[in-house]
């Protein structure tokens, strides 16, 4: 198990790194900045929606703030305002670093960022004014999605150019995940919009396609991009080599193989052919293989060096995010077993799993990447370590409250719904206190995001003139671990 470096990296000199980082500064900061703006805005809407769920009279009568519209707008803004731009921003920096090329076509990417945000602004306004579709994660009205695809086309052109200009070094595991994600997203998004929004297929085929997209969005877009960030930044910041090339292979290929098939499990008992449902169940259970392969690989990488996770914001957020991704895949496998699903199907458990994947996994992992990348672009340190700690704990406690409450409440609700003695009304009464606690969790998440946005503004403007890196915990003076921030 001692070091057998199977792939020797062409080490980048510090000067090369400095040139690469400087060349990516504009587009990456544009994507990150807009992502954080939308994250705060989306979480504000999400908080309002969660309050309306427990107090139905709240904001009653204001058409563009009714529950149906803001909950769709909040999900859409998270997915296309925060998650996708954050993934693209991190992807630009990671691709430049991993391919060891400076970023040219600077204007291409800046235009892509501007067009993307314009398209999302039109789409989100469309949803709030009542133009939404009824499909989960595809709520954007048909007139706004071509703008987003056009913007992504510019990113894709740049990604391909970068990929072909890379040096002749073998592809590092982070590059596999990165380019797989960058290729999967346009395929998923264009296919689903073509078949469901622009030129809808026959109604019976629609749910299968809609859930295929929703599953693929997490498993083939967010998960590879989060894994790419983790597989570059975790070994980089902790100074440890990635534990096992074989685990990389197993995790990557099983994720690609099963990732897009899991959706059938959301349709158990629904109007789709039985083999789609069974394939979904089998794929959801087999997602345990990439879950363990990726989770164990990163754990073995950090094993014995977890002290760095204590003080480095980037490592702390990334490790928490990967932990949540592991928990999401395991819980999703259990929830897809037909015997379990027969009870839990129409409960809040599905919502708990979505929050775990979106806010537990991706928001955490993307925050970790942003904490690592931005100081390298601006040359400034994060303004205050207390703010970083507040961001972490508000986000962690918020996600924990929401997920644990909706899982327990969802179980009680599920048993109440399946018991013929219990009235429907009582099932709603049972879940009420748990939904109340999840609304509190969303308020904490909103505060954490607002805090993060302030920190981001602080590092851009260099408000504190901070010379020392922002540690989350005291780093012992005699520690032999790398600085890791």
């Amino acid at each position: 198990m001692s070091a057998f470096p199977s792939i020797s990296a062409n080490t980048l000199s510090t000067a090369d790194r400095a040139r690469i980082d400087a060349s990516t500064r504009g587009p990456v900061l544009l994507f990150f900045g807009s992502a954080l703006f939308w994250l705060v805005f989306g979480l504000a809407l999400e908080t309002l929606a969660s309050v309306q769920l427990i107090l139905p009279w709240f904001l009653e009568g204001i058409s563009f703030l009714t529950y149906g519209r803001i909950t769709q707008a909040a999900t859409t803004i998270f997915a296309y305002g925060f998650a996708t731009p954050a993934a693209i921003g991190a992807g630009i920096w990671l691709a430049s670093r991993l391919c060891r090329v400076e970023l040219d076509h600077h204007k291409l990417l800046v235009s892509a960022g501007i067009v993307w945000n314009l398209g999302l602004l039109i789409g989100a306004s469309g949803i709030l004014s009542g133009d939404s579709t009824s499909l989960p994660l595809l709520c954007l009205p048909g007139y706004s999605t071509p703008i987003l695809l056009l913007s992504y086309l510019l990113v894709a052109i740049w990604a391909l150019l970068t990929f072909f200009r890379r040096g002749d070094s073998p592809l590092f595991v982070a590059e596999w995940f990165l380019f797989a994600g960058l290729l999967a997203f346009p395929w998923l998004f264009a296919a689903a919009n073509t078949l469901l929004v622009w030129n809808p297929v026959n109604a019976p085929a629609q749910p299968a396609i809609a859930y295929w997209f929703a599953g693929g969005f997490v498993n083939l877009w967010l998960a590879p991009m989060g894994a790419a960030a983790a597989f570059y930044i975790i070994p980089k910041a902790s100074g440890q080599p990635v534990a096992s090339h074989h685990l990389d292979l197993l995790g990557f290929w099983t994720l690609m193989l099963f990732g897009s098939w899991t959706a059938g499990a959301s349709l158990i008992g629904g109007p789709v052919p039985a083999w789609i449902q069974s394939a979904g169940v089998a794929a959801s259970v087999m997602m345990l293989v990439p879950a363990f392969a990726i989770g164990v690989n990163l754990h073995l990488t950090l094993s014995g060096h977890y002290a760095t996770v204590g003080w480095s914001p980037a490592l702390r957020f990334l490790a928490t995010g990967i932990g949540c991704l592991f928990a999401y895949w395991v819980l999703n496998a259990i929830n897809s077993l037909p015997a379990v699903n027969a009870v839990t199907h129409f409960s809040d458990i599905g919502r708990a799993l979505t929050v775990l994947a979106f806010y537990g996994f991706f928001a955490m992992a993307a925050s970790g990447a942003i904490y690592y990348i931005v100081p390298r672009l601006t040359g400034h340190e994060w303004p205050c370590h207390g703010g970083v700690a507040w961001h972490y704990w508000l986000a962690a406690v918020g996600v924990g409250l929401i997920v644990i409450d909706l899982l327990t409440g969802g179980l009680i609700q599920a048993y109440a719904l399946t018991n013929p003695i219990v009235e429907f009304r009582s099932a709603l009464d049972f879940i009420w206190p748990f939904r109340f606690m999840s609304a509190v969790g969303f308020i904490l998440l909103f505060l954490s995001a607002a805090n993060f946005a302030l920190l981001f503004a602080g590092i851009l403007l260099d408000t504190r003139k901070n010379a020392a890196p922002a540690y989350l915990a005291v780093r012992e003076a005699d520690s032999t671990e790398p600085v890791a921030v």
Partner: protein, 235 residues
């Protein structure tokens, strides 16, 4: 360990590395540790289970099979009709328990009991038809129940469906130690048709004028009666 860009022979650029770049570790590499043995076993078990599940539950991969159990077993595999006593209990708790109480004991002097009541399980002149008629149109005025006189009004429940009324009656006739046979939805429909469009609640005097009638034994068309309730302890 870290070099400043000025000492780096490859640097022809004036861009200076900033502090975070200077403290970075070298680019990451991979070790080639073998796969953990337990993970190989786990993956094998999961793939075996997945294939097994897929083979057994896919309805032959036909596009028109939505539920392999129904396709294979036909009507026999369908879930049976819900137990009327379970449905009846829920409907009773929603609609009737406010007055008659979940214990079926009513409230002394106000709402008559259902437990061992001649109106529920049958008495000298009270038949199944009287019970159904009271539920359909309600009742009012003085009534004798188990030797006590009650003078109150019961609202009509004609808005409930035949099956729902049948479930409620089946429930109250088999709960709390009552042991009368179930009432079928067909019988409720028949009594509803016999009563015409009577809306005003019945009085005891009017009901006594109607001859008692017992529900005909469940015919071939009637759904199978639920298994007789186990001897319930006296309420």
């Amino acid at each position: 360990m870290n070099q400043t860009p000025n000492n780096d022979p490859g640097s022809h650029d004036s861009i200076e590395a900033n502090a975070p770049e200077l403290r970075e570790a070298p680019e990451p590499v991979e070790k080639s540790s073998p796969l953990p043995f337990w993970l190989v076993i786990l993956a094998g078990v999961l793939i075996f289970w997945g294939g097994f599940h897929l083979a057994g539950n896919s309805g032959g991969f036909k596009p028109d099979v939505y539920n392999p159990e129904l396709a294979a077993g036909g009507a026999a595999a369908q879930a049976g009709p819900p137990d009327p006593r379970v449905v009846g209990k829920r409907l009773f708790n929603q609609n009737c328990a406010v007055c008659h109480q979940t214990s079926g004991m009513g409230v002394a002097g106000q709402f008559p009991p259902l437990v061992a009541s001649e109106w529920v399980v049958g008495g000298d002149w009270v038949g199944d038809n009287h019970l159904v008629k009271i539920l359909l149109a309600g009742a009012q005025g003085p009534m004798q129940v188990k030797g006590n006189t009650y003078n109150n009004a019961m609202p009509p429940w004609a808005q409930l469906k035949d099956e729902q009324i049948a479930s409620i009656l089946t429930y109250i006739r088999s709960e709390w130690g009552n042991a009368a046979p179930p009432i079928t939805a067909e019988y409720v429909a028949k009594v509803r048709a016999d009563s015409g469009d009577r809306k005003e609640p019945w009085t005891q005097k009017e009901l006594k004028a109607i001859p008692a009638e017992t529900q005909p034994a469940a015919g071939a068309a009637a759904p199978p009666a639920p298994a007789p309730a186990p001897a319930a302890p006296a309420a």
